[in-house]
């Protein structure tokens, strides 16, 4: 298998966004993942979200680690630079890239092995630094490329395809992200595009560390009875707490909702997150109650999805470091080199 280009021909009536791009302009090469893989639905949702937001494709940098999920950046946004890096190390590469040029949009794609096992440290530290990024974990609870081993997000007691029972506690990355200070935390399901697309849009417009845990069934190794990441299991245990609409400057606000059922969050870039509550007692503005709610529902076997938490005034790593607005990669000798006179002064101080 090498690579399959996807022809760019499209139906003349395909709608264009504010930049004149159709959805096809946000696509990549043809996926080489298994037919029915949840990851392909996520790629489609990313394409849809970027198209709807009218993002310039070349202003996105897409980075990934290693694994099935980390192969997917080839399958969307082929006008973007991509980086298939090292297993579990996408967060550090993305952090460095972000430091070099704060003006691009950073999209990190990872999997549960990549982020919860080998890369748990980097995942954690990128969250606590508040790197301005959208970090998507395509979570299927299993190692696909190496054929069916449990990953660290697999629930305790769930069964592998070969019948083995997982005896280790599963890691909930969304809970970790909440604890570690991510300022936008969501969970979704690859089979629920209607929920996922707005969550990705919200993350892309969020000016800080945005994390989305997307449960994404593995049709080859984790879609059987006894698995808690199968299509059937997730459909039956998906408890969506809210529905998100992302309203950018390009779109007029038309929908109307009964009072009290909507929470509005204004973000720095002028976008508005409009959250329709599906669960009356869910509060996405409180980190602590979000953690408590998600974990108590998990104890009852339910997977809570939706926008779990958002901090409207979120800052990012550049704000913490106090770096200039201009991308660091644009600076030259004039800004960076103090010259021989400063050096002479320095020499004099060392005699």
């Amino acid at each position: 298998m090498t690579y399959l280009a996807k022809p760019k021909l499209h139906h003349p009536d395909l709608p264009a966004n504010a930049l004149g791009f159709t959805r096809r302009d946000y696509e990549g090469t043809i996926s080489t993942l298994c037919a029915g893989c949840g990851h392909d639905s996520i790629s489609a949702a990313i394409i849809q979200a970027c198209w709807e937001l009218a993002i310039q494709p070349h202003r996105v940098a897409k980075l990934s680690g290693i694994g099935c999920s980390s192969k997917t950046p080839t399958y969307f946004l082929d006008k973007s630079h991509g980086f298939n890096s090292v297993h579990g190390r996408m967060p550090s590469v993305l952090t460095g890239a972000n430091l070099a040029n704060r003006d691009l949009i950073y999209l990190g794609v990872s999997g549960d092995g990549d982020s919860a096992s080998i890369g748990l440290g980097q995942f954690a530290h990128s969250m606590r630094r508040g790197v301005n990024m959208t970090y998507i974990v395509e979570n299927n609870g299993v190692y696909g490329l190496t054929k069916g081993q449990f990953s660290a997000t697999a629930d305790r007691g769930s069964k592998s395809k070969r019948g083995a029972v997982n005896t280790d506690e599963g890691i909930d990355l969304a809970i970790l992200a909440l604890q570690l200070g991510a300022t936008y935390v969501a969970r979704s399901f690859s089979g629920d595009k209607e929920q996922l697309v707005p969550l990705i849009k919200g993350a892309l417009t969020h000016p800080g560390a945005a994390f989305i845990d997307v449960v994404s069934p593995c049709v080859a190794f984790n879609n059987h009875e006894g698995s808690t990441r199968s299509y059937d299991y997730v459909r039956n245990h998906n408890e969506a707490v809210n529905r998100l609409d992302v309203i950018t400057m390009h779109r007029e606000i038309t929908a109307e909702y009964p009072p009290g059922s909507v929470q509005e969050v204004h973000q720095h870039d002028g976008s508005l997150l409009r959250l329709r509550k599906l669960s009356e007692d869910y509060d996405s503005s409180s980190r602590i109650s979000a953690m408590s709610y998600v974990q108590s529902r998990y104890a009852h076997g339910e997977i809570v999805t939706g926008l779990l938490y958002v901090e409207p005034g979120a800052g990012d790593l550049h704000a913490s470091l106090g770096t200039v607005d201009r991308p660091l990669n644009e600076l030259g000798e004039k800004e960076l080199c103090p010259g021989s006179a400063a050096l002479a002064k320095f020499n004099a101080s060392l005699r």
């Binding site: 494709p57 550090s92 460095g96 890239a97 440290g121």
Partner: protein, 617 residues
């Protein structure tokens, strides 16, 4: 027989044996600097434990009017302030030397040596009588012995006073008590001890305009001048002070005048894996980025370093080398990461290494490394060590050519892409193995590519074809050949006489080697010397080996790692080069080098091999 006491002017070694955490370091530095201010070259060295408080630490000051800056070995005056190491310290004194100690508690006669002059001073008693505060008693004890040393060695006390004045500028409350302690010690010594000793300091003008600087500080400044805008690092001795100095310099020299914000991003990462990951991410995105670390950090970084080699991403890695893993010996110096850096990572990899000899060259080569990494699109290691990095050393002033511009290498701009330049990320257009790259976000339609390790073709498209892999690997070999044109040339020091033997050395060995070569020359043993400054080796390095009957490769590791690299990469006959190695964690000395070479040469002379071969012809 009575040993004659040592009598020398501006040529001796003073060694301070202290307990770390006792505040001795700043007092000892004061002593060394005062001598430097008198125009006499000094080279101090810290020998310290992996510890903050309570373990033995030494500070060795070599005073050498001739300007030898290497470690000499032995001590002419031992300032023995640590009872834990007393026995060992006393043994180390040269016959006829001097022993200065705290005589508050009487010691039995068998604790002393008959062939050294013993100088007792009741430091603790003086401190206890003068100060009531326990911390003050400890801190001022150090200044008091410095005061005594000014009298014993004829050091100009006014220079010490001036230095104290500079140190406590703006903190006048601390100035007076320090000066008082200094004179307390000096006056006691003048009254009770045989001042001056046989070893003394005499003002001269041999320092010139040289500066006194730690290599790590110079590296930090080199990175700043070289245009680094991203520094990601993880604390590890002996490299941490590179990043700390970089941050300090940036807080003054990288402030945007309009906004007071910083033209740099410095991140203390969670580990070395993350620090190199950030460097690679930043460099991929067009910023100049570096990290500083030591051997174990490089071990952790190797997976990423391999990726950067194959994906062809610039990265500057400063390796302040130390001895081995874990803790303890790591606060000692070595040159033991040559092979692990040259071949770091999985798959077929080779990396560019630079070997600065001192702080000044470390400044230059760090700035150069940022150019080289961009030019060659590959990781570049700046290989210093603890001896260079963490000791203040006299070196020529740092220099910068204001007409110098940064070499950003082959990067296609939006205009280039607009003009229709054919872009293949791994397409060797110029036939030098170096291909063109684009930064993310450059052009809406052209120049984007997907970065991967090895599975791609010349246009960065995914492929697992063996032929594409081989094609790429062969180009990387060409690129490494091209690197020889850019890395610094070796420095040749030809003996004035015809020499049949040569010596190859690098890095911090240089200062001891200069002295050893002069001594050998004086003994009538001519040796040609070549200081290697980079890997890949230029042809001139290999030619140097073949031009001599035999070459000694002098290095500070057990296995003769540079020699291995020479034999391996230069395809030279292993019999032509032998190792002279010093690896006990202390800096190599001229004495060691001279003796080792003398021994080898005498062994060669008794070997009949050459004569037999000649006779058989």
């Amino acid at each position: 027989m009575v040993t004659k006491r040592i009598e020398r002017v501006n040529d001796f070694v003073v060694k301070f044996a202290n307990v770390n955490g006792s505040g001795s370091a700043s007092a000892n530095t004061l002593f060394a600097k005062a001598i430097m201010r008198m125009g006499v070259p000094v080279s101090p060295r810290n020998i310290f434990p992996s510890n903050i408080q309570g373990l033995p630490t030494w500070y060795e000051v070599r005073v050498s009017e001739r300007g030898w800056l290497g470690r000499r070995g032995g001590a002419d005056l031992m300032v023995a302030m640590n009872p834990q190491t007393w026995e060992k310290d006393v043994v180390e004194i040269e016959p006829g030397g001097y022993l200065f100690y705290d005589s508050t508690k009487p010691l039995p006669a068998d604790k002393f040596r008959g062939d050294v002059t013993v100088l007792g001073m009741p430091l603790t008693a003086i401190c206890n009588a003068t100060y009531s505060d326990a911390r003050q008693r400890q801190l001022f004890k150090n200044i008091i012995y410095v005061g005594a040393l000014t009298a014993l060695l004829d050091v100009d006390v006014a220079e010490v006073e001036r230095l104290i004045g500079e140190q406590y500028k703006g903190k006048e409350k601390l100035l007076e008590p320090n000066l008082k302690a200094l004179h307390l010690g000096r006056d006691y010594a003048l009254e009770h001890l045989p001042c001056p000793l046989g070893i003394t300091v005499r003002r001269t003008d041999k320092v010139g305009d040289r500066i006194f600087i730690e290599g790590n500080n110079a590296v930090a400044l080199g990175a700043l001048y070289g245009g680094a805008t991203v520094c990601a690092w993880y604390p590890i001795t002996p490299s941490s002070s590179v990043a700390e100095a970089f941050a300090k310099h940036c807080s003054k020299l990288r402030v945007d005048p309009a906004t007071s914000r910083l033209n740099v991003a410095i991140v203390q990462a969670e580990d070395e894996l993350a620090s190199i990951g950030m460097v690679i991410g930043a460099a991929w995105n067009g910023a100049r980025a570096f990290t500083c670390t030591s051997g174990p950090g490089v071990s952790l970084m190797t997976e990423f370093i391999g990726l950067a080699y194959f994906a062809e991403i610039p990265a500057v890695i400063v390796n302040v080398q130390r001895a081995g893993p874990s803790t303890g010996m790591p606060t000692r110096t070595q040159q033991a990461d040559i092979l692990s850096c040259a071949y770091a990572s999985h798959g077929d990899t080779k990396h560019v290494l630079l070997f600065p000899e001192d702080a000044k060259e470390a400044f230059q080569l760090t700035a150069d490394a940022l150019d080289l990494a961009d030019r060659l699109q590959t990781p570049v290691f700046v290989m210093t060590d603890l001896d260079i990095g963490m000791n203040e050393r006299l070196c020529d002033p740092l220099e910068w050519d204001d007409s110098r511009t940064y070499d950003r290498g082959k990067v296609l701009s939006r205009e280039d892409l607009e003009a229709g330049h054919r872009f293949g990320r791994y397409l060797d257009v110029d036939d030098d193995g170096i291909t063109y790259r684009t930064y993310p976000g450059t052009h809406p339609k052209r120049g984007s590519f997907f970065t991967r390790g090895t599975s791609r073709d010349r246009y960065a498209r995914y492929t697992e074809e063996g032929s594409a892999y081989v094609d790429n690997m062969q180009r990387l070999v060409r690129k490494f050949e091209t690197a020889k044109l850019y890395v610094p040339e070796p420095v040749l020091k030809d003996s004035p006489r015809t020499a049949h033997y040569g010596v190859i050395y690098y890095g911090s060995t240089a200062c001891a080697m200069d002295e050893a070569l002069a001594e050998l020359e004086a003994e009538g043993i001519p040796i040609d010397a070549l200081r290697v400054r980079a890997f890949p080796f230029q042809d001139s390095v290999i030619e140097f080996v073949t031009a001599h009957d035999h070459v000694f490769v002098v290095e500070q590791n057990r296995d003769g790692q540079l020699r291995t690299l020479l034999v391996n990469e230069g395809a030279i006959d292993p019999a032509r080069a032998s190792s002279v190695v010093h690896y006990d964690g202390t800096p190599i000395t001229a004495r060691f080098i001279r003796r080792a070479i003398e021994e080898r040469l005498s062994a060669f002379n008794v070997r009949p091999m050459r004569r037999t071969a000649a006779a058989g012809e």
